[in-house]
């Protein structure tokens, strides 16, 4: 899980009609990377676009829209803007709805399917794991299920990132209190040791996650990431152009077992990127499923 694409806490809805240029920039961002900024984020978008005006020598959001629409500058400037709207922070248990869906719906379903085939292995991949909060969260969640739901199963969490510094920090496993703001006191006590103002992940947790460096552009390495049951890839694809994104998502599809699930960041979608995955809705969360075969959801 890399940094969140924007702070959900930002800005309430403005009573005034949104600037039409901002509406078009919002659509442009969605087309470029699948990130959707709803109406109540226009204040935030305006503020982040405004930051780009000075270095570009522009005077208005309208001029900035023109630049973002020009064939010559569009690609590089959209990337700059994405960097601006990316807030560099993450935490443990960042998306509780996704985790709930994993624990209460997906894992029981995958487990039942595997048991029919006498398979007892489970593999989860955190692609773009940044400083490790996401894979450690998954490890805590699965450890809690070891004696009940996952009894008799062995499982593995693979965590990859491109950035060496992020990976080093992830492997070190030392976090400040802010990263644990969504972590219950019980889990803090069970899976962390207090070290002054910091928290160190327990050896038990560390042993459950294997970190490695992976460039998602490196197709030869992607071929070795097979047989995953669930892949998390939050706020990573925004950094790729559409062609690369399609290729990478194609690899994710191929690297999932049939019936496996692919989670993106809260506000990301694969619309226009991939038609093989099926979008599925869970309470408060969406994911993409590699179809196990012909079957429909329960839609009563």
């Amino acid at each position: 899980m890399t940094s969140s694409p924007f702070l959900l806490e930002q800005a309430g809805r403005s009573a005034a009609p949104p600037d039409p240029s901002l509406v078009r920039i919002r659509d442009l961002i969605y087309k470029a990377c699948g990130i959707y900024l709803p109406d109540n984020k226009f204040y935030f978008l305006n503020e982040r676009c405004s930051r780009r005006l000075k270095p570009l020598g522009l005077r208005s959001i309208r001029e900035y829209l023109d630049l973002l629409s020009s064939p010559k500058d569009a690609e590089s400037e959209v990337r700059n803007l994405l960097n601006e709207i990316t807030v560099g922070e993450t935490c443990f248990f960042r998306n509780p709805h996704q985790l709930d869906a994993l624990r209460r719906i997906i894992l029981p379903k995958i487990k039942a399917a595997k048991e029919k085939l006498s398979f007892t292995r489970l593999k989860l991949w955190s692609a773009g794991c940044s400083t490790g909060e996401e894979p450690y969260t998954l490890a805590m969640l699965l450890l809690e299920e070891c004696s009940a739901l996952l009894k008799g199963f062995t499982w593995q969490i693979v965590a990859t990132d491109l950035n060496d510094l992020s990976l080093a920090k992830a492997q070190e496993g030392i976090f400040d209190a802010y990263a644990l703001r969504n972590t219950s006191p019980l889990y803090q006590q069970k899976y962390f040791q207090r070290r002054g103002p910091h928290f160190a992940v327990s050896d038990e947790l560390k042993a459950r996650v294997s970190f490695s460096r992976l460039n998602l552009h490196d197709e030869s390495k992607l071929l070795f990431m097979k047989d995953n049951d669930v892949i998390f890839c939050a706020n990573v694809l925004i950094y790729f152009d559409l062609t690369s994104k399609r290729r990478i998502v194609g690899h994710f599809f191929g690297n999932l077992l049939p019936g496996g699930y692919f989670f993106l960041g809260h506000s990301e979608s694969l619309y226009g990127v991939n038609d093989d995955f099926h979008l599925v809705h869970f309470p408060g969360a969406t994911a993409y499923c590699r179809p196990p075969g012909p079957s429909g959801g329960n839609s009563r």
Partner: protein, 297 residues
């Protein structure tokens, strides 16, 4: 519903006249607003709304919500009548009446959640209809608002059965429809249909009330029913359900309602439901604050 259940149910809910009556002013008002646009008298509508202070206040509150009238401040009843237009006003009047239907004190679920779900479904149905260009979108709001009318009947006239079904639903994380079917042998679709019939609601609304959980059984064109089915599901999955989570996974494109709606609106094929879902999250916050303000009044 088979005829034995139908007969038994009819005798159980024969007391439909015990349902809260419409405010005296609402009937004439709604009749005024059903007239052809060129025959609607603004002054008369304004006068009728102003007769009931409570309706007038709720109308103004809703008219000023960005859910109904974006970016315009409306300060007088006359202003609301003019700027909203007959259809919007009719939708708002029905909404204010619907809030009054709450069987206070006899509701085993959180009543606020019920109204949030009903308003949510009305607004989501309407937005979905507009996005996909469903023919006759003006019908959609009321269909969404009233789709769970049967829950009001159940809570008012069959409170013990409703309570047991609601508890089963919450404890087992299933829909009320499934819980009612399992525990009662009938559902809010059946009881809602009886009240809709008693009130002589339009055939479209009656169909939505009766078949919104089984759109494939709809007699005749099922586009409207399918649209409300999908909106209802979306609301229940995005925090506008009945105040508890249903443990379910939905692939909308595989749902029976999707193909039924696609028969009515072929462009559904290219509809971006992921984006629509994200847009709903913002609406959900506004619906909650609107319902909170309506209840606090």
């Amino acid at each position: 519903m088979n005829t034995i259940v139908d007969g038994a149910l009819r005798s159980r809910v024969k007391n439909l006249e015990a349902m809260p009556a419409m405010p005296a002013i609402l009937g004439p008002l709604l009749r005024c607003l059903e007239l052809p646009p060129d025959q609607i008298e603004v002054e008369k509508v304004t006068e009728l709304i102003s007769c009931d202070k409570s309706i007038a206040a709720q109308c103004l509150r809703m008219a000023n919500s960005s859910l109904f009238s974006r970016h315009t401040s409306i300060e007088t009843v006359r202003g609301a009548v003019i700027s909203l237009g007959a259809r919007r006003l009719r939708d708002i009047l029905w909404s204010t009446y619907f809030i009054r239907l709450a069987p206070k004190g006899r509701w085993p679920l959180n009543p606020t959640a019920f109204w949030e779900h009903s308003f949510g479904c009305a607004l989501v149905s309407q937005q979905l209809a507009e996005k996909i260009c469903l023919p006759e979108p003006e019908k959609v709001y009321l269909c969404g608002l009233l789709h769970d009318l049967g829950e009001v009947v159940n809570a008012t006239l069959l409170p013990d059965e409703f309570k047991s079904a609601a508890e089963f639903a919450v404890n087992n994380n299933v829909s009320l429809f499934e819980a009612e079917k399992e525990n009662l042998g009938f559902t809010h679709c059946d009881t809602g249909k009886l009240l809709a019939d008693y009130w002589s609601l339009s055939p479209d609304i009656q169909n939505v009330i009766e078949f919104h959980h089984t759109p494939e059984l709809t007699p005749g064109p099922a586009g409207l029913v399918a649209l409300v089915n999908l909106s209802d599901l979306l609301c229940r999955l995005r925090g506008m359900g009945y105040g508890y989570d249903e443990l379910r996974e939905i692939d909308f494109r595989e749902a029976p309602a999707w193909s039924l709606l696609q028969q009515a609106v072929p462009r559904l094929e290219i509809f971006d439901i992921a984006r629509f879902t994200l847009e709903l999250d913002v609406e959900a916050d506004e619906i909650r604050s609107l319902v909170a303000s309506a209840f606090n009044s």
